[in-house]
């Protein structure tokens, strides 16, 4: 090599979110680091190497992004490191095969920002993620971090902060969409001290990882939001409650807190003002119900996470009976931006009653899975088909589940529904914290309802009768239906029990538990009836109600299914139609999945 290579000012970002880590991205980082460190003294400006939080494209990971050219590589392997280093980092050349493949155009794009997946998005809560090293407070500050705090402390009264948040129209991102500014105001009004602010990072929805990505990838945004909130309501102490399984989030948030202390953003006399605030991390114990506000507070107090009757709001009597503001991770992460850029700017995004953006984890049977942030009011169709690129394989869309165990399944007919708090509510689902699971025709809606009730039967705290006993019995009915023991009258009984569980349960878990059942009955009743009356699972999921048959007209005799069948139940001569031996078939569905000619059909259950 001669002369000075064109490497000046390059920053190499290696995604080290949980998804990419699972695909060995740490190894890639280490290998790159070795090469950077081995560079001779002839390099005036060494490339800067950073690890970042989740880019939201886990499925395409590990991801390496090279700035300032914004060359975005996907599915990078350790064996690609040499080439990336030599060609792209040192010489600025693009390696075509590693570029992001835009499924909607079929073309590779240099920066993922040119892709359909990215262009429809608007990043507010995720503004920094993937761009900064979560362990570096300087990275955060460089991108405008802690400006909002300074502004709040020195240019705004607590009252003004609250009215700014009120005017922005920000509503809680943890599920129910409670107006954040109003909550703060309620707390501020109460004249009782100490007051607490709490960040809900329990994220129990079994299909969602938005909050995790924020805590892992941009922990300072949450901390800054909390300090501002504490200043507004007059609190000196905060807690961040993080789900037990999220060890990386615990680590990154703890490190961020430490750094914030050392720079004077936390502790006594923050940034030279007269305001004091401390914050600590509390690890969750592994209980979905602890996401519920009163259960979460019980858990912080060192008790079993049982909710309590809350006819008196937490803003009045919360943690240890003191006024408490509890907000979700994403809610807190929005706060600094609103203060920084102003309520008007924020309120201009979204719909009439739902302002700003929402982060979703778009997963399931959709081509582009990952974390997305979209303006409120975008339609489900745009999310699933434009951003998500449509259904995987050659499947057909069936339903999208939002709101997790508290939400519901939305059918194709409602795909043009704008996504905001109120319209999802009206459809019988809810925004929830942002899980969005796409289901296709191989998903059985009865089984999905059963799945959620099973989840809830284990995750209910068990304190109150309607929830504990009602869910148990509804689950019993659904298990019967899935096993071919459904009876006439079961649907009516499910509906009646649903009413009691919904209305009479103590906390939000029970009050929303019937939603997955109610929406699937409402939109997919025929599927229930097929199970109950015809003893048939149309999706081919409930094993007792399914058997497979090879359509002899479609089968080309390629033998792939026979090779893959784990039970050895398929036989046939090459080129001739194959046959499934029903008695040894274990109904795993492998044949159906592998057949390239759609020759494997689902038929009713085996007669017992």
């Amino acid at each position: 090599m001669t002369g000075t290579p064109n490497n000046s000012g390059k920053t190499v970002l290696v995604c080290c979110g949980t998804g990419c880590l699972a695909n060995n991205s740490m190894e890639i980082y280490k290998e790159l680091k070795k090469r950077v460190e081995a560079l001779g003294p002839g390099f005036a400006v060494r490339p800067v190497l950073k690890t970042t939080g989740c880019n939201g494209l886990c499925e395409k990971g590990p991801i390496v992004n090279i700035l300032p050219d914004d060359i975005f590589y996907c599915r990078v392997r350790v064996s690609d490191v040499d080439e990336i280093f030599e060609k792209t980092i040192l010489r600025g050349e693009v390696i075509e095969r590693l570029l992001y493949l835009d499924t909607s155009t079929g073309r590779r794009v240099r920066s993922h920002k040119e892709s359909e997946f990215y262009r429809r998005q608007l990043k507010i809560a995720l503004r920094n993620i993937g761009q900064i090293d979560p362990a570096s407070i300087d990275d955060y500050i460089e991108r405008g971090g802690y400006n909002a705090l300074k502004k709040a402390l020195f240019e705004m009264s607590p009252e003004l902060v609250i009215s700014e948040i009120e005017r922005s129209g920000l509503r809680g991102r943890g599920g129910a969409g409670f107006p954040t500014g109003y909550k703060w105001r309620q707390c501020k009004r109460v004249n009782s001290f100490p007051k607490y602010v709490v960040c809900n990072g329990d994220e129990g929805d079994p299909g969602a990882f938005m909050d995790r990505s924020i805590m892992e990838g941009d922990p300072h945004s949450v901390i800054e939001g909390m300090i501002i909130g504490a200043y507004a309501v007059g609190s000196k102490k905060g807690f961040i409650y993080i789900r037990d399984e999220y060890s990386l989030a615990v680590r990154n948030v703890s490190k961020a807190i430490e750094d914030a202390y050392s720079r004077g953003f936390l502790g006594r006399g923050i940034m030279g003002s007269g305001f004091n605030f401390d914050v600590e991390v509390v690890r969750g114990g592994g209980a979905f119900v602890c996401g519920e506000s009163t259960a979460l507070m019980a858990s912080i107090e060192g008790r079993v996470g049982e909710p309590r009757v809350k006819y008196i709001r937490s803003t009045e009597k919360g943690l240890w009976g003191q006024p408490t503001v509890l907000n979700n991770v994403e809610t807190w992460a929005n706060v600094p931006v609103i203060i920084d850029r102003g309520a008007d700017w924020f309120a201009a995004i979204g719909t009439d009653r739902s302002k700003g953006t929402k982060v979703f984890s778009l997963v399931g049977k959709v081509k582009n899975t990952g974390l997305i942030e979209v303006p409120m009011g975008i339609t489900l169709r745009e999310i699933i088909f434009d951003i998500g690129g449509g259904i995987t394989g050659n499947g057909k869309f069936k339903a999208v589940q939002t709101g997790g165990p508290s939400g519901g399944c939305i059918p194709e007919a409602l795909l043009d529904l704008p996504v905001d708090f109120d319209s999802l509510d009206r459809a019988g689902s809810m925004m929830g914290s942002g899980g969005m699971i796409v289901m296709d025709e191989t998903t059985c809606m009865v089984e999905v309802a059963r799945y959620y009730l099973k989840f809830l039967s284990e995750e209910s705290c068990g304190k109150c009768t309607p929830c504990r006993e009602g869910i148990r019995r509804m689950l019993e009915i659904l298990e019967d239906i899935c096993a071919g023991r459904g009876q006439e009258g079961d649907l009516e009984l499910l509906l009646e029990l649903s009413e009691t569980v919904k209305e009479a349960s103590l906390c939000g878990l029970g009050k929303t538990a019937p939603n997955p059942v109610l929406t699937t009955i409402k939109y997919f009743e025929s599927e229930y009836l097929a199970h109950i009356r015809d003893k048939r699972c149309p999706a081919g999921v409930c094993r007792k109600l399914t058997s497979y048959r090879i359509n002899t007209d479609l089968c080309r005799g390629c033998g792939l299914c026979a090779k893959k069948c784990p039970a050895g139940a398929i036989s046939g001569k090459p080129g001739a139609p194959h046959i499934i031996d029903v008695s040894s078939c274990i109904v795993c569905g492998t044949c159906r999945e592998v057949c390239r000619f759609n020759a494997v059909e689902v038929i009713g259950g085996r007669s017992e």
């Binding site: 209980a287 119900v289 079993v304 309590r308 009757v309 006819y311 008196i312 809830l456 039967s457 284990e458 995750e459 209910s460 705290c461 068990g462 304190k463 109150c464 009768t465 309607p466 504990r468 006993e469 009602g470 869910i471 148990r472 019995r473 689950l475 019993e476 009915i477 009876q487 009984l493 009646e496 029990l497 009413e499 009691t500 209305e503 009479a504 349960s505 103590l506």
Partner: protein
């Protein structure tokens, strides 16, 4: 402060619970987990009522809903009755064998359960009164265990509880008789632990476990040189008084 309960105008103090006001006015609302002597939990949900406030209707538990404004309460609308009946059905399906539950079932005209699998031996309806009673005494020898549909009441490790003094208060508050107490030959067995019973120094009746006697003496510093049952103690106090007069 005035509220209307089932059409009847009632006087209520600020923050008073609906249940208390209703009872004072002779309006019956069924309860299970409520006890005047113990802090409320609002867990059985049998006492649900409908509250209309500022044009909005909501379902609340009357035992813990504080009255803070002008509200109208309906304790037995068709909807409430239907849900209450379902709650009783659910409780009966869980714990069919207690007398208490049988009575409630009859009251609500609920037929023998045929749709669900029931455990004929189960009696506990998980109202939590026993746990709270024991906590109130200051012992917390028992607690709820597990969560969700597998929740139950048990001593630690489901072994005879170390902290138990055999006072049987838990069994006494239990509405369904789910906690077994056996007494024979100067012994009381509860939670699978045997306690020695002491005789009353007055009438000679077995009435207290040794541990309970010690506990009362030490913890509350009550002057009881020898074990005296309530009746004899009253008698002796009365005698002392008479003596003084």
């Amino acid at each position: 402060m005035r509220v209307i309960i089932d059409g009847k105008e009632c006087e209520a103090g600020y923050g008073e619970y609906i249940l208390d006001v209703a009872r004072r006015n002779g309006i019956h609302i069924p309860t299970l987990c409520h006890s005047g002597a113990l802090p409320g939990q609002g867990s059985c949900r049998l006492c649900i009522v409908e509250v209309a406030e500022a044009g909005k209707k909501k379902v609340v538990v009357s035992c813990l809903y504080p009255i803070t404004g002008e509200i109208e309460v309906t304790t037995n609308s068709e909807r409430i009755y239907r849900m209450r009946r379902n709650i009783v059905r659910l409780l009966a399906a869980r714990a069919p064998s207690g007398e208490f539950i049988k009575k409630l079932r009859e009251e609500y005209g609920i037929p023998e359960e045929t749709r669900f699998k029931v455990d004929e031996k189960e009696k506990c309806i998980l109202c939590g009164l026993c746990v709270r009673a024991c906590e109130e005494i200051g012992l917390s020898a028992i607690s709820t265990v597990n969560r969700g549909t597998t929740k139950k009441v048990a001593p630690p490790f489901e072994e005879p509880p170390e902290d138990c003094i055999g006072c049987a208060s838990c069994a006494y508050v239990c509405p369904t008789g789910a906690i077994e107490v056996q007494e024979f030959e100067g012994k009381r067995v509860i939670w699978n632990r045997a306690f020695e019973l002491l005789k009353c120094a007055g009438c000679g009746r077995y009435f207290i476990t040794r541990q309970q006697y010690e506990y009362i003496k030490n913890k509350h510093g009550i002057d009881m040189k020898e074990p005296l049952c309530d009746r004899c103690r009253q008698k002796s106090t009365a005698e002392k008084l008479i003596h003084l007069l």
